[in-house]
């Protein structure tokens, strides 16, 4: 990755190691992966969710925490095997469902971040080992990743 001066550095706690760069998809609502995300398409299907109809694939998915069935962890692995998983995950609270999902699917993950500081469309760089999220660019067109 080319060094780039971040406009904001958010420090949290690293959960799953790995670095990634991608466009943020931000929700203010807890997300259930089982029943809430279609494992065949990566699209959020929970009715009334603020991400309903949007694909989480390849994005850095930022939301407060998980909810719902613990089998939801397996959905993240199913997405990963189809190449549809998020590139990274940023949560405010570490909850077992998302943490286990990120571990088994090997998706870089940071928790303890106020996701209200991030907006959908921001270009982020996530370092799951150091527990750092850098906002490289606000909004703007979707970068090639």
């Amino acid at each position: 990755m080319a060094p780039e001066e971040p406009i904001l550095v958010l420090r949290g706690r690293g959960i799953v190691e790995g670095r990634c760069r991608g466009e943020a998809l931000v929700s203010s609502m807890p997300l259930s992966f089982l029943g809430g995300v279609d494992p065949r398409t990566g699209v959020v299907v929970e009715r009334g969710h603020d991400l309903e109809g949007l694909s989480i694939s390849g994005r850095i998915l930022c939301f407060p925490h998980g909810k719902g069935s613990t089998v939801g962890s397996y959905v993240l692995l199913a997405l990963k095997k189809r190449g549809l998983a998020p590139a990274g995950i940023v949560n405010e609270l570490p909850d077992p469902i998302v943490v286990v999902g990120a571990v088994i699917a090997n998706i870089p993950m940071v928790v303890g971040i106020d996701v209200g500081e991030i907006e959908t469309g921001d270009l982020l760089e996530l370092d799951g080992g150091a527990g750092i999220v850098r906002v490289l660019r606000r909004g703007g067109p979707r970068p090639c990743i």
């Binding site: 959960i15 089982l34 494992p39 613990t70 089998v71």
Partner: protein, 395 residues
């Protein structure tokens, strides 16, 4: 988290990729939940068995874990799946659904989990009091902690499976004595007249407890099946993993509860809870056995059904475990003489009831009443055991 040398070796992959993934799950969970170490468990009980609720993602994950060579290191039991032979035929399940469910079961079997397929594994092998367990299935967790006096957190499907494979669980929460004390006093101003009122009270306590451990300080002595349903209701109403009554086994009598916050619950509150969960319409199907019926309940049902006949236009399904069905065949015969069907390995909540094209299910279980509308699109009529029999059989 502190890891022993053996645990480090597993984490480094020396025991194979399946065990490595399992211990990674346990260590990450232990880290976020504040555990300092892993502790051995006597058994694991795994959820995520029904294809209806676990879906293709579980089929794939379990296949992968099996291919990695993972195997249970301690006795491990499994929750209900989506059907038994009878329900499969009644629901006319398509071949691909049957195959997906069978693949889940064969993966668990290959990993040496037992095909118990029940939410009441404790009737077959009762854990020792004070033993440490890693159990999923919220109703079994409440029973293990509160009735048996064993120690288990409310595990999820992946963490219970990981614990089965490693034989250990992170040491936090209800494994630690300081976290097992009552945190909330509950006083009721009425005597629950039947199991439905008791269990609806439990559901309401679950909602009001907000994760705290409730102590029901003036409840009458309860029988085993009443306690089983009480725990299930509290767990579905609001994440309760442990509760106390005046008769609780493990040291409850010595606990000073005087300083705890007091919540008073009246008859009206419970009536409202039943009405909130219930429809008054005529049922197409009557269902008992959420959680799976114990021998005591099967005896009650056999007595209530003696000389009765289930209506031709109605199904009366009674769910229990394959093990309990085999313990007292004469009871099953007596029940089925009425036309009621005893179903094993599954329960309506995790099966495909919607395929029956029915609108209303009658049951005595607030847990089933809470889950069935969302999972199967049916309405639920709550009725006690006696009323369930009346709804199933003409006078």
């Amino acid at each position: 988290m502190y890891l022993t040398r053996d645990e480090e070796r597993i984490l480094d992959g020396e025991a194979g990729p399946g065990a490595q993934l399992a211990i990674r799950i346990l260590v990450k969970l232990g880290d976020i939940l504040g555990a300092e170490r892993l502790i051995p468990v006597a058994s694991a009980h795994v959820s995520g068995v029904s294809y209806k609720t676990a879906g293709d993602a579980a089929v794939e994950f379990l296949r992968e874990l099996r291919e990695m060579g993972a195997e249970a290191a301690v006795p491990a039991t499994t929750n209900p799946c989506g059907f038994d032979e009878r329900l499969r035929d009644i629901l006319r399940l398509p071949g691909e659904v049957v195959r997906a469910q069978e693949e889940i079961l064969s993966s668990y079997e290959a990993m040496r989990l037992r095909k118990t397929l029940t939410c009441v594994p404790y009737y077959e092998t009762r854990p020792e009091s004070s033993s440490h367990l890693a159990w999923a299935e919220s109703s079994a967790v409440a029973y293990a902690n509160s009735v048996i006096g064993a120690c288990t957190n409310r595990e999820g499907a992946p963490s219970a499976l990981a614990a089965a494979i490693i034989g250990k669980t992170p040491d936090y929460g209800l494994h630690r004595p300081e976290n097992r004390r009552p945190e909330l006093r509950i006083r009721v101003d009425f005597e629950p007249e039947d199991e439905l009122w008791l269990w609806a009270l439990g559901f309401l306590i679950g909602e009001l407890s907000k994760g705290a451990i409730p102590f029901l300080e003036n409840i009458r002595a309860l029988s085993d099946w009443e306690l089983k349903g009480l725990g299930a209701s509290m767990a579905s109403g609001g994440m309760v993993a442990m509760f106390y009554t005046p008769d609780s086994p493990p040291g409850a009598a010595h606990v000073n509860t005087g300083d705890l916050e007091l919540v008073e619950i009246g008859e009206e509150d419970v009536r409202d809870t039943i009405e909130r969960l219930s429809s008054s319409d005529e049922p197409d199907l009557v269902f008992v056995g959420c959680p799976h019926c114990s021998i005591e309940e099967l005896e009650l049902l056999a007595a209530l059904l003696r000389g009765r006949e289930v209506r031709e236009d109605r199904l009366f399904l009674i769910c229990t475990s394959r093990y309990l069905r085999g313990v007292r065949p004469s009871l099953i015969e007596a029940i089925e003489a009425s036309g009621a069907l005893v179903i094993v390995d599954t329960c309506l909540v995790v099966s495909w009831v919607e395929r029956l094209g029915i609108d209303v299910v009658a049951t005595n279980s607030p847990k089933a009443a809470y889950y069935l509308p969302g999972l199967s699109g049916v309405r639920v009529r709550l009725a006690n055991l006696r009323e369930c029999v009346e709804l199933a059989c003409p006078p």
